[in-house]
Subunit: 267 residues, 2 copies
Amino acid sequence: MGKKVAGNLLIIGGAEDKKGDCAILKRFVELSGGKAGKLVIMTTATKEPEAVGKEYLQIFGRLGGGQIEILDLPSRMEAKGEKAVNIISEATGIFFTGGDQLRITSILGGTPVNEALARAYKNGVVIAGTSAGASAMSDTMIVEGDSDSAPRKNSLRMAPGLGLLEETVIDQHFAQRGRLGRLLAAVAHNPYVLGIGIDEDTAVVVGADARLDVIGSRTVTIVDGKEATYTNVSELEPDQNLALHGVRLHVIPAGYGFNLRNRQPLI
Amino acid sequence: MGKKVAGNLLIIGGAEDKKGDCAILKRFVELSGGKAGKLVIMTTATKEPEAVGKEYLQIFGRLGGGQIEILDLPSRMEAKGEKAVNIISEATGIFFTGGDQLRITSILGGTPVNEALARAYKNGVVIAGTSAGASAMSDTMIVEGDSDSAPRKNSLRMAPGLGLLEETVIDQHFAQRGRLGRLLAAVAHNPYVLGIGIDEDTAVVVGADARLDVIGSRTVTIVDGKEATYTNVSELEPDQNLALHGVRLHVIPAGYGFNLRNRQPLI
């Protein structure tokens, strides 16, 4: 796992507190250097970039952020611009809002901004994302799949993500939308990847040592299929149900961690 | 596991097909002896015993059931009556409708009808239950608990069930209502019990050999906490979140089975 992990990731399961003590968003501001930091809000995922961008701008300001900028890249043309690349290159913290993860990857994928992001991450810059912004972090991301439903192959669509957190599939709004089924289906496709289901108002902080720490008000569910003894995923007809035997599952609340390298929970 | 298992159980996750080929309800009629069978519909769980009872009466008739009777025991007084005991004693198949599982146990628990049920089961009579009727089957049953939520101790209420399927906790409407969290919380309390989460229009048939077979249109999720390495459940404050490490999870669709004795899935 994760020799590529160099910077810090803050991956949020959506619906993070924006009115109370804002523990998760505050952590982003702190990790990014606080008053000395240069925060960039990436609104590519959302179709309401102005409203969403402004809301985070105000919150990060209130939480003690230094220089804060909204970078709206609504199309691939903008994601090629030198100005955008410079903004990313100077950032100490980059925040992806929610929306549609496919907008993030289809607009940024393979562009100079994407390269700048990867460089920034390697240099230790904090990259955060909530909801769609969380899904986009993994190598392969879940694009679409039924919530509150039995695990099926058919209802699941996946696509290449930003690849910041290797060997994982991330899902968000996890318990609140009943997404165990789709995460299990994703893991069944290739148990090499670790499934990470993040609840609302909950986040994982991943450091350079491949250690994952949970913060926020709910839990993170980790699905490890490495020791799975059987799955029928390769033989399934459309609309047939998944069989998957022997998955290892961990429930991790705030204050606990997980070692992504050896896949062991930390107490 | 289960030296007490003698008869057949048919445990249904609720919302079983009542209009199409009725695969699950048909199985009940067949297991109970078809035309030669004496079916009893137990409506204790529901507050609309007449409507619910009549619906099943018609369906079981249409599916080839022989003698079919509705046994409505709305209070403990009725559950002491000799007539009710005789009806149970002559049945070849007994079906518990949905409603509130606490009505089943609080009305029947410790009564002559409950004893007659246990005797019937030991003699090989088929006992079926859907939704609340499914929950009531286990030793300890889930009475109440948040759906679509993170695993917490506080939101979960359990009570003694009918005890027909030992060493288990059964949950129903499982994927459709996002009930992983509450099943994990139940298992964390005592990993000796096996968590069985049954989807809607899905059922398990448990035979005298402690073999569980899945039928119906979705899946059964089995949560085995025996090898769990850690939980904080005994130290939790109200409203704190559960930690639970190293649970084994199996997804079992129709056509597959599970050995309850050694807790291994069957292919």
